[in-house]
Subunit: 299 residues, 4 copies
Amino acid sequence: MNKYVHAHEQKRAELLRNRARMLIACPDQPGIVAAVSRFLFEQGANIVQSDQHSMDPEGGMFFIRVEFDLERLDERVDALRAAFAEVANAFRMDWQLFRASEAKKLAIFVSKEDHCLLELLWQWQAGDLAADIAMVISNHTDMQETVKSFGIPFYHVPVTADTKAEAERRQLELTLGKVDTIILARYMQIVSPKFLEHFPNRIINIHHSFLPAFVGGKPYAQAYNRGVKIIGATAHYVTEELDGGPIIEQDVQRVNHKATIEDLKRIGRHIERIVLARAVSWHLEDRIIVRHNKTVVFD
Amino acid sequence: MNKYVHAHEQKRAELLRNRARMLIACPDQPGIVAAVSRFLFEQGANIVQSDQHSMDPEGGMFFIRVEFDLERLDERVDALRAAFAEVANAFRMDWQLFRASEAKKLAIFVSKEDHCLLELLWQWQAGDLAADIAMVISNHTDMQETVKSFGIPFYHVPVTADTKAEAERRQLELTLGKVDTIILARYMQIVSPKFLEHFPNRIINIHHSFLPAFVGGKPYAQAYNRGVKIIGATAHYVTEELDGGPIIEQDVQRVNHKATIEDLKRIGRHIERIVLARAVSWHLEDRIIVRHNKTVVFD
Amino acid sequence: MNKYVHAHEQKRAELLRNRARMLIACPDQPGIVAAVSRFLFEQGANIVQSDQHSMDPEGGMFFIRVEFDLERLDERVDALRAAFAEVANAFRMDWQLFRASEAKKLAIFVSKEDHCLLELLWQWQAGDLAADIAMVISNHTDMQETVKSFGIPFYHVPVTADTKAEAERRQLELTLGKVDTIILARYMQIVSPKFLEHFPNRIINIHHSFLPAFVGGKPYAQAYNRGVKIIGATAHYVTEELDGGPIIEQDVQRVNHKATIEDLKRIGRHIERIVLARAVSWHLEDRIIVRHNKTVVFD
Amino acid sequence: MNKYVHAHEQKRAELLRNRARMLIACPDQPGIVAAVSRFLFEQGANIVQSDQHSMDPEGGMFFIRVEFDLERLDERVDALRAAFAEVANAFRMDWQLFRASEAKKLAIFVSKEDHCLLELLWQWQAGDLAADIAMVISNHTDMQETVKSFGIPFYHVPVTADTKAEAERRQLELTLGKVDTIILARYMQIVSPKFLEHFPNRIINIHHSFLPAFVGGKPYAQAYNRGVKIIGATAHYVTEELDGGPIIEQDVQRVNHKATIEDLKRIGRHIERIVLARAVSWHLEDRIIVRHNKTVVFD
């Protein structure tokens, strides 16, 4: 980390030391916003940003993201959580409180293609991704040197049809309790339901098509054959259904008849890395609530 | 208005009868959201949507838009306003409370080009613009029949260099106290400061360029000569500075070297009408706060 | 047609009187462009625009669109066609020669939704669609008055499960030999293979999704349920496979978790009409070659 | 360069060995395309891609880009050039013939910001930029290690108000006769007219705004203060007029009132690097003709 980034990080850390974020989901009813905001006011907190979303005013769900500053947050965060539990119970809230200064710990899973991994490492180095990248795990060694040059631990966990269960055991051993979130940065392997159980809504995949178009393998070849005029990429949380999890972000780019499959791959690489990086940053900043296989993104 | 639209409108009206919207701007300090939401809760209101924006947590401005439902709003709205004045005073708020069921009254000013006018009339007829289009005023008669076919009054107010002051007097006579907002839908005439005084931040213009590029006349010719690769349009509130008022919305489209000035105009027409219609709908739904020649748009 | 449009049309007609367009597809081999351009040069034609596309330099297909001006085209077009047949035979070309001044005759099929129809009528009236709109056919009467106000014949051909074959007979009677191209502007009925036979690659449909995502009915509800972050529309030539024909044009717009199904429909309407109008204008200007269920669009 | 890239490069080199590209500009008249394509046919060349653009059929300019394959191009290229000179003289053509296998030699000028430099290096390493990056020159040493890790020579040429002339002499010494094109990848220094003379239309700059909006310094601060709803970046050839040279490519991204100047810079970085990389790749593939301070881009 060079000096420039270092100073930048320091200033950021200072700014974020007293900042917290809450994500709340509960059945809609009058008084939710009033209760939450009164609670925060009485604690002495200052609301910096607050977003709500009501799925349906009569009998639906209500979602809140609130970002606030509170003096001496580090000393007071446990008491704050305890005190809020009362409000939460009254409204049957699912809720989480995060400190902005506690960067989430990431493991990035990667195969041979480097573009998504490099984009994440690069944005991280530029100070644009507020994460602690704890490790990169790959079934190949191609990325080893690159990853090490960023000062990040690299683990080679080979995967074959025969050794898949063993490989996942090794991956769990490396990640369980050590990382919060796993990013599949073009990992190209299907993760088992058993593995998923350990990271519910905490594994983000980038699929190289505009889902639900072109599920499964070789989406650029599928897109070429169908003759679409726009291609895309989709970042989503991984669930048991292949390419069927809650969509976080999508983007697209116009193509024409001149584009070969190779061109689509090249153009697609740029979309993939932008879309994945955006989804990861929203996850890191606690902007996403998952509900019924869909996401609310407070961006 | 055909039966389909009529049924649609009825359902909408019913839904909106008890809905209100508040726009608030005040100096930032702790407790604003808490005070507003507690007030609404105590009145028995249910918050449907709420957005905030803080320009700067230390000493800046705080902006709120809150949309809520309140039973028997029509009977209670005056008391509600009176009661809120106390909260507002305590926080030195600039604030407005609108009833969603009271459609804003519009006058559309137009010259010879019909595309922006037609888009507004068409969206209005489709039930997408919740306005009461009170009149169309034009310095030409080209649009007269079209406007009348929509059942909207049309006034011809000719403008020449000599008769400009007289024309504005006539326009004021037609609009003052009768319309809330004026839309310049390619009106192509400069409105005098004296006229503007009567409608502060309530006159919306569409400029056919991506401002601040290509201020003034013939922006498509300017764009052609500069060889830009993207053209755009800008909707803004009109102020004394030509094309310098607070920007509400902008959009763009890619063009290439094949495009003639005529092509740019044709492509631009589609951008203009979309951008203007979007800006008008945000204004009608009380989603815009103006501050220091910039807009906060809670979309 | 008002005076403004009339003058516009006259100038356009004059410009286009001597303009012709050729669309050519043939197996790739050296000398194709040379042969075509030499032929045109020797005839005294001036090439205004010329585009080529080679699917694969070794053994693929070659596609050409060439637009040229030739003095006294009306007198000479038959001789020109006869003379070109020799070149065409030598290279085994599929080819067509169109005169720009001969506007294609369109039938627009429509159901109850008006937005796509209105966009086409409007662009046509503005001089942006160089077509002869010969008739509008609908299974309902909702659009009758609107269509007549544009001076275009309207035919009501009701369709029920029982009368479908009879309805198609009536539609064929109206269109066969009288129109070149049929536009399904949200017609919402499946056209039988027997009907399609009469208009190969000459029926354009607008599907209200980003194909191949959300084939079939209620695509906005499908999109809502899947939680996509971008919605789109697709214009394609109709083939026997439902929503499976060659794609001409697609476009998209970003949406978020706030959008209801009604919002998606409203946003989608704007995408649909733009996409359909663009596809129709390319078809009218002979810019599209269909090959293997894909399109080459020389835009 | 790793093995993967190496194999990729070899295949590409093979494919391109016999490929040539011509760029032609001449006064419009009948027979230009015929003459060029007959010449190539008689030489035994096969046209792979051909694009034309006529500025105005009566008395304007005509532009051609033609890409063709010719057996044993290396042995025959000099004879080809000599033979074409006759055709060129007859039509008063400005023309250039490039071999696709001869990668252009680049110097990249950079200051302290790394994002544009990194994007170019990365795309180059991925095989997406067919260039020979001969050197990176910087007025600071921040990028030295990064550049060296790619195996590219790095030269530190400090620039102060006093030493500017001396610095340019040193830059010329390093680049003259050694590089074809200079990329200003956020170099942040104004290049003197005297320096420009040596590289006419061969210096590409990235400006961090949507030109002609926000010429000069601190464009993101300017954009923030004007309250625009879309920001952009522009790649252009450098001329004596500050930020006034022929525009090659532009792109934009939507922003809203929440964005701080820091946010605009961060979002803008992604636009800048994409736009610059696209412009550079078009330049490398001989897709750009400059005329009257505008570009024709045959993409």
